[in-house]
Symmetry: C2
Subunit: 339 residues, 2 copies
Amino acid sequence: MDVADHVGVSAMTVSRALNQPDKVAEATRERVQEAIEALGYVPTLAANTLRRERSGVIVVVVPTIDQSVFSDTVQGISNTLDKAGYQLLLACASYDPDKEEDLVKAFLGHRPDGVILTGTLHTPTTRRHLANAGVPVVEMWDVSDENMDMAVGFNNFEAGYAIAQHMFRCGYERVGYVATGPAHEARENRAATRSKGIYAAFSDAGFAEPVRMNVRDPLIIQDSGRIAADFVLSHPDIDAIICANEIIGVGAINELRERGVSVPDDIGVSGIGDANIAALVSPGLTTVQFPGYEIGTQSAELLLARLDDPTSTSERRDVGFDVVPRGSTVGIKGCDQPR
Amino acid sequence: MDVADHVGVSAMTVSRALNQPDKVAEATRERVQEAIEALGYVPTLAANTLRRERSGVIVVVVPTIDQSVFSDTVQGISNTLDKAGYQLLLACASYDPDKEEDLVKAFLGHRPDGVILTGTLHTPTTRRHLANAGVPVVEMWDVSDENMDMAVGFNNFEAGYAIAQHMFRCGYERVGYVATGPAHEARENRAATRSKGIYAAFSDAGFAEPVRMNVRDPLIIQDSGRIAADFVLSHPDIDAIICANEIIGVGAINELRERGVSVPDDIGVSGIGDANIAALVSPGLTTVQFPGYEIGTQSAELLLARLDDPTSTSERRDVGFDVVPRGSTVGIKGCDQPR
DNA sequence: CCACCTTATGTTAAGGTTAACATCATGCTG
DNA sequence: CAGCATGATGTTAACCTTAACATAAGGTGG
């Protein structure tokens, strides 16, 4: 080792100077430090990992990171891990469990100290590899009895149920559903579960299944707004729509306004999820708010706790959600109108 | 090696079956593949990195990732690297060059094959370490003569200049500037450069320096909107404001609407940067649009090209920007009114 | 002043992989 | 069929770090 030669000590002493400073004479330690500075030495973590069987790396897989609420979650994870000295290996699985499988397989080669995944929809092979590696796993955004280990999130069924119930409380009686389509729901577990919650609320409230329209690409505002608006205009009997995400909801509000349909006077609109944009359109979009950043920080915290004490149990934290009434729906009967 | 024993071949043959399949007899390769499947073997990348001096990891440092346009950029990088089989080690430096230094130092231990940084503001130590490691570097979001190696972005001075010039072309003559404050600009090189561009445009157009207001926390919509609105109301002579980012701009539009000030009839508003929200408020925010996703993909591409051919030159790609006129400013004299 | 403890440092081997070289069988050329 | 090219596989060593054990110098107590 370069630094060792430079100082005239063995490699072991350099290693100790860095990892167990109190085991090295102060004078030596200082000379080692100086040499490290002077030579710009950076320890080779690959060798470190190999020898110690501990990499200091945490793998995070989210569906996407652009524009989405997952970027908040990643920020939360990053901030928390950073403080603890862990590094973050990130990948986007595009809502595709097979892609997730490939990513996890490749990432496990780095012998991560922990893995944070989104949702509970994983291939059997993914599960097998994770179990095989014996690595702690946190699943985010979905707390249910399907979690494989630790989990931080909320109950998506309840979230869907809650927004539908809220619409009924507002007094809407013929509520349509602008959803993301069976193909998307097959891949997006959480969306499918929320749909089930919505249907259950209809049923429990004594309504028939809602009239439903599926949006092809539920992440493009203009397109989904247009489809939602068409849907509304072709179903004059409908008095409100629930949109399966906030993109569709905001798109609908914008498009309806342009077509001269007044929200919420002519039609109520609600979404699910609460990106920045939901509060900024006018009227604001009534929606279910999920604490994205907090899901990130708590996931990381749970993982760190496990790393600290490997015997700790598989905690599942339900961080809940909030129904946020805004201007796109009328006030709940007997209550104040939302702003 | 487990797999090798299982198949009854040497470790080398397993290695070859994975990395140089054509050097291995087909029958052997198949048996190796089966054993790999059966045992859930995942190659230890640490050993691989150690031996080959090549990690397959690319380090990416952005200021933040939440809500911001950098999340688009990271998505672009992720998508591009993923296709090429590289993995992404991500960190957020919070606009702090010292933190960036620590991150880079730590990350270099992974012997990344490339590093992608945001902006040109780095500590001397950061530069030294990067040079020392001999790792290819791409700087994003700022193309200027200060780039250390490759770069993908645009000229921030010109971007500032362009939006100010656009306001003058719209006919505004007493334009105020809602900026992010000296503290922020000291840390945020690109914002400072854009400010300079704005001032230069005022000067070139024959105007005195704009009346200026600084926003404490330029990333919180409600607060900055309030400050911007206060500023407008306390300066009745002003006919338009340029906001230093789109958060302030959108906040200003919302807050001014609530206070009964009509945009753009009473006052024009423009921003810099173009998150989703800029197009979704009403009126839409006139702003300068930066191609965040494309900056990501091109940065990754540039890096991949260099990895492919280490002798390639330090290309700098100016992806430009677009001034996007929306409803928050009046139309340019003699031209159509923007939607 | 010897046995023993402490402190500082060194030595050896191992971790999993692969480059480089070595071996061996097979088949082809002349 | 000797000589040699080809293809398939094996062996060795090295990549850099650190756990575990070893050594050496100095100090303590009886």
